[in-house]
């Protein structure tokens, strides 16, 4: 036996032994137990709960990993998977919407609803990807953004229906608990059928490894094969999500392991991925079942695989070839005065409306200054947070040369969320200052981790971005795990994540405004760097910009801006993404006017979102962050489509 074979077989043997051991631990005791006469709960649990659960783990793991391998094969993208492309999140959001609004019809149509959601997201991501030449990073970046957005929207929908939210979270966190063979049997034949559909695709997929041109000249119908393979992959992941909920990152991990073990060529790669995925989920779930015996609380499998799987994105980063992409393509229109005037006028107008116009207890519209003292702190908080996020967005987009960059995407917001979660679960009942302190510490920690993790790659912007979004996914998984346990503290976390200005007090609002000014000034002072850095690090460096130090400083500044803003308005606004683009649309292309314009626009957007949130469902209040996010997502999609066209 050669060394190479040993190296490949070694891990497989270890895995097999591990599975055997865990299964033995789980099954041996109930099997050897004395059969009780009549009803025997131990044997019933074994035959109708434990065993179907194990079967489901094997089937779901196989299906998700096969789907991931198909995605990776067709898209030539080592980061593609049902999770990273947002396919699972799409299915989950569709199921949540159906559960909340059409509960009576869900029974039969679960699969259809999940398929619809998955297919919508898949279609969207693929359409975007096609326009950008299926660039691995932009595909995964947009996939993860869509995924985070779907997850957030599902969470918020659940929050607005807080008393029935736990059931929604259980699906989001992917529980594998079973009481019959119904689910594994139903899932089993569907997955088997879809796996058979892969057979005729194997040879064409192998040929496509040669490159599109070569494959086409050999008679492969590229588009048809691609579409068929993607359809199978989407269907596989949708069916799993419909049956047991979102099982995060298995579909990414298994194909990566298959590659590391040296699986070459489509048939071997697909099969190995599927088998490894089945084994992995089986091991994970068995371990969870054994552990759950100790804690007796619900430990959702999907959230746990996501917690362990999402850091893998960070490990995979160095394997990706990334080159600096330069903003370009679409040409901004020349400066137009009317639009610029609009930018200047929007903010004061919005502030006046937000402070003076409201509704009374009966719901009638009232204009006046009576409530100004109550509204002003919220308006100021929204204003400062919006401006800071916008400036952070300008900085990040110029630093990374990537129009998708924003504080939300960088993961700073996610860090703040994690900090807040820690404060809620570590301390009995933390006051507001303590909560904010923890959130700030979390934001700073994420920033530090990102800077350290990407230090060796000299802060290559795309890596920073993906590192940030991987952390965001991790935080998402953790908070999903917390929420699914039904602990009421999860509610407080959700409330904060939805980005409300409710807690704004005059003092904190003033402080936030002061911070906005103090942090925006250095950004304005760095305008020349910001003009030159989009040319790329090489050129900017050749012109005498101290690229390393400038990037470090500006990243830190962007981090500080987003951390402070996140404390004010929560992690999910997308204003940091929208405002810089709107400023460019208004003809403000150079760093200085764009920064100022974006700050004004961001502030106006956030003030507007806060006002809408306060009056739309009066006296119920929709958090400003949610309103902004609901506007931000379609904008994001529009942006990706428009960018791709040129």
């Amino acid at each position: 036996m050669t060394w190479g074979m040993t190296r490949r077989l070694g891990p497989i043997l270890v895995l097999a032994l591990g599975i055997a051991l865990l299964l033995w631990l789980l099954v041996a005791a109930p099997l050897s137990a004395q059969a009780a006469p009549g009803y025997d709960p131990v044997k019933m649990r074994l035959y109708h709960s434990t065993l179907p659960r194990l079967a489901t783990a094997v089937i779901a793991g196989f299906a998700l990993s096969l789907a991931g391998a198909l995605f990776q094969q067709v898209l030539r993208n080592p980061l593609a998977s049902p999770t990273t492309l947002g396919i699972s999140a799409g299915a989950h959001l569709a199921l949540v919407v159906a559960t909340l609004f059409f509960p009576a019809h869900l029974g039969l149509g679960r699969d259809a609803v999940a398929l619809l959601g998955s297919a919508l997201v898949a279609g969207l991501i693929m359409a975007l990807g096609a326009r950008r030449g299926f660039s691995p990073l932009s595909l995964v970046l947009s996939g993860l953004v869509v995924s985070l957005w779907c997850g957030a929207l599902a969470a918020i929908l659940a929050y607005l229906n807080d008393r029935s939210m736990v059931s929604l979270f259980i699906w989001g966190a992917g529980s594998l608990s079973m009481q019959s063979w119904q689910i594994p049997l139903a899932l089993g034949w569907k997955v088997g059928l879809l796996a058979l559909c892969c057979l005729p695709l194997l040879r064409p997929l192998s040929l496509m490894d040669l490159g599109d041109g070569a494959a086409a000249s050999l008679g492969v119908r590229l588009t048809r094969i691609r579409l068929a393979a993607l359809a199978v992959a989407v269907a596989l992941s949708a069916l799993v999500t419909s049956a047991v909920g979102v099982i995060g990152f298995i579909g990414l991990v298994a194909p990566v392991l298959a590659r590391l073990l040296g699986a070459r060529g489509s048939p071997v790669f697909l099969l190995t991925s599927g088998l490894i995925g089945a084994a992995l989920l089986l091991v994970t779930d068995t371990a969870i079942q054994l552990a759950a015996g100790q804690f007796s609380d619900l430990l959702p499998t999907g959230a746990i695989t996501a917690v362990f799987g999402s850091p893998l994105l960070l490990v995979l980063l160095p394997r990706l070839k990334i080159r600096h992409r330069v903003i370009g393509g679409a040409v901004a229109p020349p400066q137009r005065m009317p639009r610029f005037a609009l930018v200047l006028a929007a903010l004061p107008l919005m502030v006046v409306v937000a402070v003076l116009l409201g509704r009374d207890a009966g719901g009638a519209w009232v204009m006046g200054t009576e409530m100004a003292a109550l509204r002003l702190p919220r308006v100021m908080t929204a204003l400062a947070a919006g401006a800071m996020l916008a400036v952070a967005g300008v900085l990040l987009q110029r630093l990374t040369g990537n129009e998708m960059a924003s504080p939300e995407v960088l993961g700073i917001s996610a860090g703040a969320t994690l900090g807040l979660a820690a404060s809620l679960f570590v301390l009995a009942s933390p006051g507001l200052p303590v909560q904010l302190g923890f959130a700030g510490a979390g934001a700073c920690a994420v920033l530090a981790v990102i800077l350290l993790a990407t230090r060796r790659t000299a802060l290559a912007p795309e890596r920073v971005l993906l590192a940030g979004i991987a952390l965001g996914a991790l935080v998402d998984a953790l908070s999903g795990l917390l929420a699914a346990t039904g602990d009421p503290r999860a509610l407080a976390l959700l409330r904060w994540m939805s980005g409300s200005t409710y807690n704004a007090a005059p003092g904190s609002a003033m402080l936030l405004c002061a911070a906005a000014v103090a942090l925006a000034l250095p950004a304005l002072a760095a305008r020349r760097w910001l003009d030159l850095l989009p040319l790329g690090p090489a050129l900017a460096g050749a012109l005498g910009v101290p690229v390393g130090r400038a990037r470090l400083g500006l990243f830190a500044l962007a981090g500080a801006l987003s951390a402070v803003a996140t404390l004010g308005i929560g992690p999910l606004s997308f204003v940091g993404l929208m405002a810089p683009h709107l400023a460019r649309e208004a003809g403000l292309r150079r760093a200085l006017p764009q920064t100022v314009g974006a700050a004004l626009i961001g502030a106006a957007l956030m003030v507007g979102a806060d006002w809408l949130g306060r009056v739309l469902l009066f006296p119920w209040q929709i958090p400003a962050g949610l309103v902004a996010a609901l506007m931000g997502a379609p904008f994001l999609i529009f942006l990706l489509f428009r960018r791709g066209r040129t």
Binding site: S175, M178, S180, A484, A492
Partner: protein
């Protein structure tokens, strides 16, 4: 505690304008013959609390964790009632009116029912309704005694208190909770003895119900029940074989507020007594 010294003239005059940010406290207010001027989540009252009915003209304040401050200031209340759950909001709320923080459903080392009784008395003293409180608590004691007598035949019978999230997951109420304390008072006991957190309930996969070994235990399934739950469960051999899930041992119950106070304890006692009593 020196409640009288804290009273504003309006409160003393007998027309207290009280806002409640908790269903249980709002229900207790009604029990003390005081109609709150505003409560949070008024729109869900009929689904989750059911009784006592909330009189009309009570203002809706929105979600309890973020009550609408504009309405709150327009209501100009004399007193705002909160639980420790809203601790983070208390400094804020104090700007609008004095805040009374009452420990009800959160485990602080004494039985939840005792905490609710104490909270009722504190509240009554604060708004000058001690007589009504005595009546309410006496009614409760009488009801418990009555229930206990009616259930004499079933004394010590075990019940499982279940809220289904979906066909695979269930929330079980156990110790420490208001429901658990009431069960003991009316002569029943909780079949679920595994420790839960400080909140008195835990979310579990349905097969965990097979860990209930008590041969006579009844399964009380509280509304709201997600559509199709029992249809799905009835196709599960595990569920069909589960002694606890046999038709004669399973009861569908109307909704009762899980984190309530005295009124909810009485509603719970009455409904559980009716359900168990009817059992042969």
């Amino acid at each position: 505690m020196a409640p009288a010294a804290l009273l504003t003239p309006a409160l003393a005059a007998g027309a207290p304008r009280v806002v409640s940010l908790d269903y249980g406290l709002a229900s207790t207010l009604l029990g003390l013959a005081v109609t709150p001027v505003g409560i949070s989540e008024l729109s869900g009252w009929r689904d989750w609390v059911v009784e006592p009915a909330m009189p009309p003209k009570v203002a809706e304040l929105g979600i309890s964790t973020e009550p609408n401050l504009e309405i709150l200031s327009a209501l100009a209340p004399d007193l705002i009632l909160v639980t420790p759950w809203l601790d983070a909001q208390i400094p804020r709320l104090t700007q609008f009116a004095p805040v009374l923080r009452l420990e009800t459903f959160i485990w602080t080392g004494r039985p939840i029912l005792d905490a609710c009784i104490a909270a009722t008395q504190t509240l009554a003293a604060r708004i000058g309704r001690e007589a009504e409180a005595r009546h309410l608590l006496a009614d409760m004691e009488a009801l418990f005694a009555d229930c206990r007598a009616r259930l004499a035949r079933h004394a010590g019978r075990a019940v499982v208190l279940a809220h289904f999230w979906d066909a695979r997951h269930v929330r079980i109420s156990a110790d420490p909770s208001l429901f658990n304390d009431v069960l003991l008072r009316i002569g029943l006991r909780n079949a679920w003895t595994e420790p839960t957190g400080n909140w008195g309930f835990q979310t579990l996969p349905v097969e965990a119900l097979s860990r209930v070994t008590d041969p006579g235990a009844m399964l009380l399934v509280f509304d709201p029940l997600p559509p199709g739950t029992f249809e799905t469960l009835d196709r599960s051999p595990l569920w069909r074989a589960l002694p606890l899930a046999q038709p004669e041992r399973i009861r569908r119950m109307p909704p009762v507020l899980l984190l309530g106070m005295v009124n909810e304890a009485m509603r719970f006692a009455r409904l559980v007594t009716e359900a168990v009593e009817a059992d042969a």
